[in-house]
Symmetry: C2
Subunit: 241 residues, 2 copies
DNA sequence: CTCGCATAGTCTTGTATAAGACACAAGACG
DNA sequence: CGTCTTGTGTCTTATACAAGACTATGCGAG
């Protein structure tokens, strides 16, 4: 006699709850049912449910607050910043970037983009070029590439102001895209003339090149981001445990 | 009526077990007592003990194997490599480095070293200069700085061969130093003449500069390591979750 | 008799349940 | 402005059974 699903029950429950969040059944910021209620509905014990919830919390999909309830994590720009933005100044303090959009376009994915985003070559992607400004100085030049299928309408009238970062957050919330994980490849490169112009630095200045691929809670690749960081006054901080 | 220790019981138990490992009470690779026995000895329920053990396992301090027992993690060079070594080749595959020691010395800590290692300026440190070779080519030039107080005798007759990495692992195991966490600051820099000589690259080549501080299970700073990685054929892979 | 091997026994950690005491938050009420 | 009540998540205990891993036993083949 073999079970239909060999995974532990708490993993199955985790998957069920994950689906409900991804599918928009429970929306961003919304409170989940109380634990006893939810456990009863799912037909599992409170302990098993709590174990599943603990795993979801570890993945930052939900937030639990004693006495208040359990909530689907709201993806504000501050939240995403704290979780994924690793630039620090030389004193080790987090830095608050301003954003300046320098260009937006839509077109077929290049071979490189398609491979990274797991698309077929030629599928439509949106591209956003922007610079990020720390303490008045431009320090990052980056290009964000998004699968158009996941962000319909993003190509439309887009204010060249810094709104774009907010729009981006809005799209994630509205489309059930909950960012969960990023994989990054880091290397060093020399500033090209284009980089030098954007970053206001001499040609050839060593830059930290960050190639990031981001995944959502459904396991989809949602973004490719290539950033060039001028590290003369900043560092990229990573913790390994 | 306030409790003497407001932390949850499972956290207190975790701290007790952590101490036993750090103090060498339970040695590297050794099996812990079985759960029921240990729970009885500590006067807590099996569930509470298991919760503490789960936390220790997450920190890689112990390893649990169903049917066999629970063991203090043994710090082999392979284990440390898998956990802390993030260099990949362009295909994304982990790379197996050879190591070549280029110099060993002992002396008073510089201001910079003292600050990073949390020592008083002038306290004795060991310094190991070495290069790391991937697929026949030298790709990393690095200096490791260790507090002499934690590694007594390391200054003595040291084979210039690649033994040093093994010796280093041995010292950690022998002195209750269990590496648990690293903090890294990444930036880009241009190869100096010294770098160029070691790495066999042109002067000015952009290098990935990695400044790493490593902590052990007792919360001590155990190592400062400054590495310069030639990223022409390799990447530094990081995952953010 | 000895070797090989299946298997039962027993020790280990892993999973799932249940129940009760506790702590925190928010609103109702005096 | 306190105090109470209610609803929430958190901690701790206890029990039972499942599953992995090793050991010993014993039986049969040679």
């Amino acid at each position: 006699m073999r079970r239909p699903d060999a995974r532990p029950l708490y993993v199955q429950v985790e998957a069920i709850l994950n689906d409900r969040i991804v599918s928009g059944d429970w929306k961003s910021g919304q409170a989940l049912p109380a634990e006893p209620e939810l456990a009863a509905e799912l037909g599992v014990s409170a302990g098993t449910l709590r174990r599943a919830l603990a795993r979801l919390e570890q993945r930052h999909l939900i937030e639990r607050r004693q006495g208040r309830g359990t909530y689907v994590t709201q993806q504000t720009s501050e939240q995403a910043l704290g979780q994924f933005f690793r630039v620090r100044n030389l004193a080790g303090r987090p830095v608050e970037p301003d954003t300046f959009i320098t260009g937006v376009s839509t077109g077929p994915a290049s071979e490189e983009e398609a491979a990274r985003l797991r698309l077929r070559q030629g599928e439509a992607v949106h591209r956003i070029d922007r610079s990020r400004i720390f303490e008045g100085e431009p320090r990052i030049a980056e290009r964000i590439t998004l699968p158009a299928a996941l962000f319909p309408g993003l190509s439309l009238p887009l204010a060249p102001a810094q709104l774009a970062s907010e729009i981006y957050v809005h799209y994630r919330n509205a489309h059930g895209i909950i960012v969960v994980k990023s994989e990054e490849n880091l290397s060093a490169t020399a500033a090209t003339e284009a980089d030098a112009a954007v970053l206001n630095c001499p040609v050839g200045t060593p830059l930290l090149l960050i190639e990031r691929v981001t995944f959502d809670a459904a396991g989809r690749v949602v973004e490719l981001r290539v950033s060039r960081l001028d590290t003369r006054a900043h560092r990229y901080a990573v913790e390994i445990a």
